[in-house]
Symmetry: C2
Subunit: 536 residues, 2 copies
């Protein structure tokens, strides 16, 4: 199982990555080397697939790879075109050539997936491939999620192993769902299933790896690690009556919160590096969100590549600076401090003829994060460092964030992390560190944007312990306000929260991308109109 | 033909709009009142369709409407659900009830369309509906774009008229393509086709109306106006041997450039008003882009609802202020001037310890538009006026725009308008005004961002007459760099431009929405990964 981190569009590089594994597989006397879905192009290639030159180049890259396949059989993912149609395909390569091609039958077109935009589904009779006398079926991703689908059909034709090439994005709990699905398929087919997933971040998606072999009884007999590359040699048990003994390494799964943290680390590292950056800038407020983002960045990129910027205002509390300083020391990162007062005073004076003085409300508050956004972007423009934003999912949901202010930056590390999970992730990271890496006072103090004196999040929002379950129900499960009231939430509160979510769509549309870790992230997972009169 | 401007999600309001037309149709002794696609929900409802409560409410709204249908037959668009599947449907209502339902057969899933994400295609035998002894076939949008599809099939079953409910978004030249398609369908089916389109803006889409009847010979015998609501009574000629005489009003089509201007006006007006705003703010630089946006806004919203903000910097030329002042007077709009120097000086001083002084390059330039963005947003936050941004498609393509600076705002009026078309639109508007509404000097001077002394767009970019055709080929037609070189463009220039386009994807992802007027706009029309190593 060749669980690799491919780069979308890097056709040459991806083929070189695969070549290394093919050579190693032959050296280690493996019969079959299986790669993830669309391994030649990276996944998802999105509208690149609509460019004829991209498809042509990917086929040339496949041919180049096929020539290098000797000593084992390799199954690799690529985009095929035939009679003007485009297919999500797997090539079976052996003895220096492509020996056969399988076209994905089931094309997901829901959630983050748009495969029917691009691909024609495979149809017609299946071919099995013989490898050292063993009949092997080939399937791709969604093909394995359906009962009575391609896996069962190929087994019925005599397949003794079915391999499944995957680009299966992470969300919390996904790996367990996936293994239940694999067990069901193996039992149904009475044959082992070899599931090979890609690993790595691609814009908003994180592919977690955890490639798995289940035997014919549905038992997991090999599992590659999550969130890292892996070349895992497995002796796949062909017989149903095997004793369920491990056929290769079975990497244990991390606890849910740790797993989520690792997904954020990988998503961030890959977005930064695959886009040609080495270093990042983070505005540090002394609050828990920016502290978590800094910890994730330091874990993902190395502390020396993380640069904190403290930008206190006239409303910043003493602890906001001291907590940020303590975090900087704990993480071993560098920091700069730029007080925003000169620009703040300048803006207020410039705006006075138009909007007056005194309590300017939201207009006055938003000036401060926008000054910070401008400072961070100036430092970014000058240094070539990417700005990471620090808003969480609860804020993105209700619009408790300033466009072009704290939302300004290249990657929004925790935009899919609800605030209550932000706390859990910090506690977990501290536990694993064996010390208060994120200072205890950061975890203890009540959340505040500090945009006016004595401001707390709970001035505008219900406590996050109340808010987050409402958000999860409304956003991830499409519950209605009526459902929430029936579940016991106060009606006025529910109406207010739902309205805030609906009205903030315009802000989310201008937010930077960030890693998806729930079953429904803002972004291509949730495509709601901005202009929308429905209140539900 | 009831060509109405529906609001996505406004189920009650949409049904009320239709009720007015149904009453009028009965009063005017019409036999059949035809409405656009998904007229109950508005189009496109996107992920609202995934909410069970939305689908339930839309069906209740339909039932309520059906009760009101007396004196004529009405065909209206709605979302149906049946056995857990969702359909893009048309209801035939008569005598106070829904008498029959048609499910759209062909579901577009390309360009801006995602219908396979939501809907199951209709299948099985067609039903024809009898209206005053005439057999009527019902189809929806894409159904009519295919030869040998539902239109031909229903005609073969005996349909004497086929109606086609539409949500067909505008792009330049679309109406002519559409009428060619309708003529082909009518000829193929040997029966008249009644094509009813919606009108209005919905986020990035503009629906242009121009509902049309073609007779059995393919001749246009009635056409409603573009870009406005219309109730058009038509005596549809059933016989193939009619003399092709007008069956109703045949509104002439406007010239291409004027039509495009009107699309921008409608898209802007509807985005502003449907989102609950009455007034807009526009940063006026004295340049052609902001001048055009102000003219469009004044035409769409009324001059009294347009507020210009002049924000000169130390690098602004005299003519930038005088030209903006002249525009303000010509349009009869209000304006305010806020010099950005105090904040500009403050930022430079605050950043000096980090990035020094002297020529700060891009970092120094970008500070200025970001100050302007912050000022506009403060005025917006205080006044409740929506900020319109002024960047054109050529700039969006190559990234010649500042994120959180000139890109900051709610709606990007000309983001799909290439710079050369910006000039043509201004000339056309002036011609129609019979005077230099947009000052002659604005049209005459060379484009400049004025972010450093003596800066011109051509310092960084090729002349727009050279750039725009490259952009159009690469973006709208997916030409490769190699194709462009083969077409005679200089290779180094092509490589540089293509690279700029690819690298600016991250900026475009954070841009506000704006009306689509070309065959491929940035937005859901063009879904390229940000993380993308392909150079093609």
């Amino acid at each position: 199982m060749c669980q690799r981190n491919f780069v979308v569009g890097d056709l040459e590089g991806n083929v070189d990555r695969m070549t290394d594994d093919i050579v190693r597989a032959a050296d280690e006397h493996c019969d079959l080397a299986v790669f993830p879905e669309l391994s030649v192009t990276g996944y998802p290639p999105e509208d690149l697939v609509l460019k004829a030159s991209f498809v042509n180049d990917n086929r040339r890259a496949l041919e180049k790879l096929a020539v290098r396949v000797t000593g084992c059989v390799a199954v690799v993912g690529f985009v095929d075109s035939h009679d003007g149609r485009i297919y999500n395909a797997a090539a079976v390569c052996a003895d220096g050539e492509v020996r056969g091609v399988y076209y994905k039958h089931r094309l997901p077109n829901y959630a983050v997936f748009d495969e029917q935009r691009y691909f024609t589904p495979g149809s017609g009779a299946y071919s099995l491939f013989e490898v050292r006398g063993v009949k092997v079926g080939v399937t791709i991703c969604e093909d394995a999620w359906v009962s009575g689908g391609p896996v069962a059909d190929q087994a019925a034709m005599g397949a003794q192993i079915v391999v499944n090439l995957n680009g299966s994005p992470f969300h919390r709990g996904k790996v367990r769902l996936r293994e239940e699905m694999l067990a069901a398929r193996a039992l149904e087919a009475s044959c082992p299933v070899v599931y090979v997933n890609m690993v790595g971040g691609q814009d908003e998606l994180v592919f977690d790896g955890a490639s798995t072999v289940v035997d014919a009884t549905g038992k997991v007999v090999a599992r590659a690690p999550q969130f890292e590359e892996s070349f895992l040699a497995v002796d796949v048990p062909l017989s149903r009556s095997n004793d369920g003994a491990p056929a290769g390494a079975v990497t244990p799964l991390a606890p849910d919160v740790t797993e989520t943290y690792e997904a954020l680390v990988l998503g961030t590292r890959d977005y930064v590096r695959k886009n040609g950056f080495t270093d990042v800038l983070i505005g540090l407020s002394g609050g828990i969100d920016s502290s978590l983002v800094a910890a994730i960045a330091a874990d993902g990129l190395g502390a020396e590549h993380v640069h904190g910027v403290l930008m206190p205002s006239r409303y910043s509390s003493d602890h906001s600076l001291s907590d940020a300083d303590e975090l900087v020391r704990n993480l071993g990162i560098e920091s700069t401090t730029i007080a925003i007062e000169p620009a703040h005073a300048a803006f207020l004076a410039m705006l006075e003829p138009s909007i007056g003085t005194g309590d300017l409300g939201l207009a006055g508050e938003n000036i401060q994060p926008r000054i910070r956004g401008t400072l961070l972007m100036a430092l970014s423009n000058q240094s070539g460092r990417l700005v990471l934003t620090t808003g969480n999912k609860s804020e993105m949901a209700v619009g408790y964030a300033t466009l072009y202010g704290d939302m300004a930056g290249g990657y929004a590390v925790i935009k899919d992390v609800p605030k209550t999970l932000v706390f859990a992730l910090c506690r977990d990271r501290n536990e694993r560190a064996g010390r208060a890496l994120i200072p205890a006072s950061v975890l203890a103090k009540p959340p505040s944007a500090e945009l006016r004196p004595d401001q707390y999040d709970t001035d505008s929002l219900p406590p996050y312990e109340v808010l987050d379950p409402i958000l999860e129900a409304y956003i991830e499960r499409d519950s209605t306000a009526a459902d929430l009231v029936a579940a016991g939430y106060e009606e006025a509160l529910v109406r207010r929260v739902v309205r805030m979510i609906d009205l903030a769509e315009y802000k989310r549309r201008q937010a930077p991308p960030g890693p998806r870790i729930t079953t429904k992230a803002f972004g291509k997972d949730r495509r709601l109109p901005i202009t929308n009169a429905f209140r539900g």
